[in-house]
């Protein structure tokens, strides 16, 4: 819990207050039509981006197959939920089952049992993704590095997509979904995000975390100092795929998606997010995720926005990417973390001014 001690009190309190405000927004957002979806996506994209950031930012290895692991999380969650659904329909009768699970915006709310089911499903899906991630990491990380690792992970993720595409029960052409049966709430996703942030901070503060950072800064020096480089890499990769699995599983309760949507484009999207936020900066990833989600789901659908933006997101992304890389290649936050200091500075300056004014009098 090193991070906890390192954080200054003011920042800690502000963060807690911020989370509380978000919680309140999440709870009351269900009254709106668009807000829950946007919040859900923000939280889920943040989780998935954080997962990628562990490998790319903290470990310094370059992975282009993130979408594949999110796909595994998504598919496992859908299949598990379908099985749970079948089981309950059989034993309890359909009507009762629907009462427990269906979450309807108008009037209804997610039943407490629904929360339990979602959390269980997500955990199992994440574990399965982690196991697959461990195997992939074991095979690929020991032998390859740099661009080659990136390409191999991309290839592996495309194999996952191809397999899911070929079996109708795993997705098929347009994908499988459960969102008509059960869908999660922003509150739940926020809870997952906070839990994962705490988990990551704890993990990165531990011995493994420091090993990971040592590997990033210098592989050979780290090895010379007795850091088990390969083992560390595999652990980081497995941890990352565990989180990616959580992201994918949560996504399954928010929106239906076809397997092909998890291919190259999604992997690149998350790469864009973490680079935009700053490699190695956890809060940077979250900020970038917020920006991307707001751009896609809020900005583009506004009636006052020219259709050009909605129809050609690729041009906009491309221009933003190139400009950021050319003029601020470290991203929004660089390697720093977001703090509330600017917030207090705003008021501090004011106070100073007041004091001087008063002094003048």
């Amino acid at each position: 819990m090193i991070w906890f001690k390192r954080m200054n009190k003011r920042n800690l309190i502000s963060t807690v207050v911020g989370v509380l405000v978000l919680t309140l927004i999440s709870i009351f957002s269900t009254k709106s039509y668009e807000l829950p979806k946007i919040l859900n996506l923000i939280f889920i994209y943040s989780i998935s981006a954080l997962a990628l950031n562990i490998v790319c930012g903290c470990l310094g290895e370059f992975v282009l197959g993130h979408g594949g692991f999110i796909l595994i999380g998504y598919t496992t969650a859908v299949i598990l939920m379908q099985q749970i659904s079948k089981l309950f329909t059989k034993s309890m009768g359909k009507v009762y089952f629907k009462e427990i699970l269906v979450y309807v915006v108008r009037g209804g709310e997610l039943h407490p049992m629904g929360y339990v089911f979602i959390i269980l499903t997500v955990i199992v899906a994440a574990l399965i993704t982690a196991i697959i991630g461990f195997v992939v990491g074991l095979i690929a990380l020991g032998r390859l590095k740099g661009d080659y690792l990136a390409i191999v992970t991309l290839g592996i993720s495309l194999i996952f997509v191809n397999v899911c595409k070929n079996f109708d029960s795993l997705g098929g052409g347009t994908g499988i979904s459960i969102t008509t049966t059960i869908s999660s709430t922003p509150l739940l996703n926020l809870a997952f995000l906070v839990a994962i942030l705490i988990l990551i901070l704890t993990f990165m503060g531990s011995r493994f975390g420091r090993n990971i950072l040592a590997c990033r800064d210098d592989n050979i020096a780290a090895e010379a100092c007795g850091v088990p480089v390969n083992k560390t890499k595999v652990i980081a990769f497995t941890f990352s795929s565990l989180l990616a699995g959580i992201g994918g599983a949560l996504l399954a309760f928010v929106q239906p998606q076809a397997p092909t949507a998890f291919g190259q484009d999604m992997s690149i999207l998350f790469l864009i997010i973490i680079v935009l936020g700053g490699l190695g900066s956890l809060t940077g990833s979250i900020i970038a995720a917020i920006l991307i989600v707001l751009y896609e789901n809020w900005f583009c659908v506004q009636s006052w926005v020219p259709e050009f933006f909605a129809n050609n997101p690729k041009i906009i992304y491309g221009i933003i990417l190139v400009l950021i890389m050319l003029f601020r290649s470290s991203g929004i936050l660089g390697k720093n973390e977001f703090t509330w200091n600017w917030f207090y500075k705003l008021f501090k300056k004011k106070d100073n001014k007041k004091e001087t004014l008063e002094g003048d009098k």
Binding site: E34, L35, S177
Partner: protein, 386 residues
Amino acid sequence: MKKLFSLLVVLLLVCSVVGCKEKEAETIKLGSSGPLSGSVSIYGLAVKEGVELAVEEINAAGGVDVDGKMMKLELVDFVNDEADAKKAAAALTSLISKDVDVVVGAVTSGATEGLIAEAVKHGVPVITPTGTADKLTVGDNGDERDVRYNVFRACFYDSYQGKFMGQYAADQGVKKAYVLYNNDEDYSKGLKDAFVETATANNVNVVTAAYSKQDKDFNAFWVPILEGGYDCVYVPDYYENVYNILKTGYAKGYEGVCYGGDGWDGVIKQVKEGEDASFLENCFYTNHYFGESESPAVKTFVEKYQAKYGSIPVSFAALGYDAVYIAKQAIEACDSLEYDAVVEALTTGTFSGLVTSSTPFTFNNGNPEKAAVVITFKDGKEVEAE
């Protein structure tokens, strides 16, 4: 203080997204979604034209009679979803925030599935003009009708036309059939499964082969067909690929027949000026209606459409047109704009006078009970087959 104030403004802005729905019963608001750009844009544009024509026509005739009050129809938005599920889902939320009373959309099956995932939460009546996948109205395993209670379609569904074509092939005396389907489209897979099931049951020998969205060159795919001597190839896909496949196949010397589904509508427009279209003459496909048929409903629709847009409407335009009329009849039947009342009226009502169905029909699990027509080509034009 200024900074605090600006913060408050930002908070207010955030809260303003959390708007409440207030119904102003001035007009009946229709919302729609479909691909207006991208590879299947021809469908979205056709549906849009059909919907706009119907709205114009109904308004010119006075509007919709809701409990004795004549109300005008208003198409508040036709969102471009580029046939993408994610965008269609976003389209629905944006339509809901514009207080739509009925959603006419989406156009392609994949996008409609995305739209429905959101729509069931709001309960808004959804009439998809052209979403043909079976699962849209009843779910993946066919047992979700009580969840998707507000989803209806104006067209027949995939397994119906697949089975229809399978039966048709057997009736035509086909012995060895080959199915070339698109692995990336559930539309294609759905038709394939239904065709294979019916054809096999009728003692037709069927072999299937898959291609994916990245395949544009079909030369190699025709090799096993020509080697195996098949007398029928079933190609359930959308028109761009269909044109490619048929052209390649007949150029390579295939002499049998080709069958297809309603995704073929528009394939004739792919044939370029001065190009020999005779390769299409051995091809047959199922469609929702035939634009040059003699029935009076079709004739008046085609005339009006031609007067407005100057071309013969494809079936997608007719279905878009019909979807609006179905909505109108449902609203008039229940004299209300409440979501549940309209859904109830759609579930129980009988609908008549439509372009794509010569007989009145009711909805069974959200699917209309109507027949398909088989269309073939002659001299570069579409004609109805016997």
